[in-house]
Chain length 245, copies 2
């Protein structure tokens, strides 16, 4: 009578095949999460698979468990992307930059999962999401630590990583929540810009903080000094990176 509108009624699973339903529920839940016009409800997930609502409780204790499982599935993907970004560049500063770009690019591609783990107000109270956030920070901290070891940055790697992360996160968060702002067309280009801005900014700022100058400067002095610095870079055997290394 009240058969699901979105899907044909599925065949009942064979004896040992029960757990396959779990996988199907996760898939449908993921689809719902990606569709801004539909809500992720227990009822919608069940009917999407072609099953009645109570069946969901055969595999998930409650709604939260289901939602969390959906999101954490995607975060494994980010972890592996960060890992490969880190290991595919021998040079610490280049590795950090590519790690940042990979992070931003993943975040923009997985907006709903990103939103749930890093933007939801209650995210900090959920152990699984805390863990996902923590692991993110650890990858970044590792990358920054290598830069500190190579003496291109100075200071506490974890604190610097929090600063870098803020810059990357902000771009993803702002773009996802306010797509109507005058963003440039190329999603990743601004991500690259921000990753480089944060990297270069951190490198220069931590040096200045390690040996603070006596007086406050003006814009004119900043400009003049930066010009000289860039000129210096051009004379160096290996000058600063172009946008694509």
């Amino acid at each position: 009578m009240s058969s699901p509108a979105t899907s044909t009624r599925r065949r009942r699973a064979a004896r040992g095949e029960g757990p396959r339903l779990r996988e199907q529920l996760l898939n449908v839940a993921q689809e719902l999460l990606l569709d801004p016009h539909r809500d992720l409800t227990i009822r919608a997930v069940a009917s999407g698979v072609g099953v009645t609502t109570p069946s969901v409780y055969l595999h998930f204790a409650d709604k939260d468990s289901l939602v969390e499982a959906v999101c954490l599935q995607a975060w494994d993907d980010l972890r592996s992307r960060m890992e490969s970004a880190l290991s595919s560049h021998d040079d610490p500063f280049q590795a950090l930059r590519h790690l940042g770009a990979a992070y931003v690019s993943w975040g923009l591609e997985h907006a709903p999962q990103y939103q749930l783990v890093l933007l939801a107000p209650e995210a900090g109270e959920r152990p699984q999401r805390r863990l996902a956030a923590r692991q993110c920070l650890e990858y970044l901290t590792a990358a920054v630590a290598r830069c500190v070891k190579a003496e291109v940055m100075r200071g506490d790697p974890q604190e610097l990583a929090l600063g870098m992360w803020s810059a990357l996160h902000g771009y993803v968060a702002l773009r996802v929540a306010h797509p109507e702002l005058p963003w440039p067309d190329d999603l990743d280009a601004l991500g690259e810009h921000i990753a480089r801005m944060a990297g270069i900014g951190t490198a220069l700022l931590t040096r200045i903080e390690a040996s603070p100058p006596p007086r406050a400067p003006s814009s004119a002095h900043y400009a003049a000094t930066l010009d000289e610095a860039v000129a210096l870079l051009h004379q160096a055997e290996h000058p600063f990176s172009t946008p694509d290394s």
Copy 2:
């Protein structure tokens, strides 16, 4: 019988005094927004004032209008803070830095309002919140434009402002959603760090992009060149700023 538990029953307003209820409703709604243990519902707002639920509809068309009104009230405060940060510093680069620090500091103090306008998934679809976000960008763009005019930065002010904003926003957003991360105790110190990192990073990066060097560098070359640049700054008449100007 079912008198409100949270407040004494108020006296009925006199003839012309009707609109005063609106103000009281906004105040209670604000309190509810700030209390993470209570939800902002029409019922709770009404009972907080000491009035029955339908009375709320005398002043607000629906719940959304009420919530939006509460939030936008606070954003006026941010606008004035940004304005005074901008006008209290003659030097463009210093003004930008203080604008950033003021922004972060306000965001951390007004987490719920910040969350609703800049973090909520549907924020980009609400005209009022779009406007608030847009005005934020405009203040930042104005500050960056002054830096571009003073030649301490190069490029499109709005695009650079989006990058700067991302960095500032990310810190507020991350800290608000994940307070359990290993943040330093001083809220504003890291905000200052990020504002400076983004400013200096943008200034240096836009110079490098305006005159890109021929080859990709290594961390060692970055380190050596930045050392020379900082040495240069120390020789300058007005070197880089200390954390407190």
